[in-house]
Symmetry: C2
DNA sequence: AATTTAATTAAACATGTATTTAAATACGGA
DNA sequence: TCCGTATTTAAATACATGTTTAATTAAATT
């Protein structure tokens, strides 16, 4: 058996980006906070190609700066990633947790608050679903441990407990599992958000806006969960 | 502001794997088909760390062989990936499509067949949900175009049409969107399969087996979709 | 039996990436 | 005004990866 010798593989060229070739040296006093700019640039790159696959050069280039800057401010690659997580990601989930903790109506109200909360988060932070898929859902993702250890006790476990209680009180279909209901809830909110670029293309669905999506999701959940 | 000099970052060591140090040269006549072994090894690695992130050396090591072997059989990295896709991935989705095409009952039967079909696929090919998340759901994934161009017309579009028809006949809740219903269906099947390692840990849910999961999913969908 | 061909390894090569070092420049306080 | 320090770049270093080449061994063919 002979192998083919096909030297195709057209490597896509990076855009040159026309850098102003700034000379080394301390910047003028009115220059912006570079650390924050670097975190912004990192987040943009992480959402675009993933944390693991983002070269430091890409972040530096996005910020119009040298890779050595990243080491100056963050030490090394993993500490930069950690900084992005704790300073940009955790606060976002923390606010959703706060919102849900303050919702103390029935199950339908809790679910509506969750669906609405995800909608708000995704609108404010369009990079989040991408990052969530890549760093939590993917095996070996950088944020999975963080989810399990820090976010899960505050959010999914709390939701499961409230579903279980409502089920004992006969207000949730007995054929459902309270824990799987949390999984279903995420599969009907975060997953559609993450997959939106795909299903919009497949179904040519530019007419579906956030309100339509929310209406569909709540219709499915409200009927699906309620007792007969 | 001074940066920290923290030279921690304990790099996890690869297992040496105790290679028998075979000498070069053509193998004995009764040796197995290496091409198939290489495809197997590639699939294992792809599911574990992703197609893009898998070094050829990892595949070679998994198969107990030299990286040059991969070039001998497949030419280069992208051709190896293509071979895994067309020879291992497409047939699996093709079989699901066949199954669903032959299901011509009402909406509930179609949905039950889909849920059951995903369950079978995931049982037979545990690597699939991982790969699906990483290569389809992730932006820039190697299989997204494939899904949109080759799988979508045969599966999701067909499902959406059948849902729309049933809805016109008054057998599906009018508040739902037929296209989003396909998204929901995947969010309630493939997504829970892909996330199983996570939610099993979070909820300590080793007691939930395939039948329980299917029961939950169908209960939610049957009630959620039906008209009042 | 001799020769060609197929399958395999070891080693070299080219490229890209994270990281370190040295130098340059401006700020801030003495 | 002068000097130490903070912030930045350019260049050097070290290592991993995809790919190629030459050598080696067994099968296949004559």
């Amino acid at each position: 058996m002979n192998q083919r010798r096909n030297p195709s593989a057209p490597a896509a060229k990076r855009r040159p980006r026309a850098q102003p070739k700034r000379a080394p040296g301390r910047p003028l006093a009115d220059s912006p906070d570079q650390r924050l700019r670097l975190l912004d640039a990192a987040l943009v790159c992480f959402a675009r190609v993933g944390m693991a696959a983002t070269p430091l050069r890409a972040i530096a280039s996005e910020a119009g700066v040298t890779p050595a800057m990243l080491h100056y401010y963050f030490g090394d690659k993993s500490q930069l990633q950690q900084a992005v997580i704790t300073e940009r990601l955790l606060p976002t989930f923390g606010r959703l947790r706060e919102t849900l903790m303050q919702t103390d109506g029935d199950v339908a109200a809790l679910i509506a608050a969750f669906v609405r909360g995800i909608e708000v988060i995704v609108t404010e932070h369009p990079w989040l679903p991408s990052l969530w898929v890549r760093e939590v859902l993917c095996e070996g993702g950088a944020l999975r441990e963080l989810l399990v250890n820090q976010i899960a006790p505050a959010l999914p476990l709390m939701l499961a407990q409230r579903f279980a209680m409502a089920q004992r009180q006969g207000r949730v279909n007995a054929d459902l599992d309270p824990r799987l209901l949390v999984v279903s809830l995420i599969g009907l909110t975060m997953f559609p958000a993450a997959g939106a670029p795909i299903w919009r293309r497949i179904f040519d669905a530019d007419d579906i806006d956030a309100a339509t999506l929310r209406g569909h999701t709540l219709a499915l959940l409200d009927r699906g969960i309620g007792v007969g």
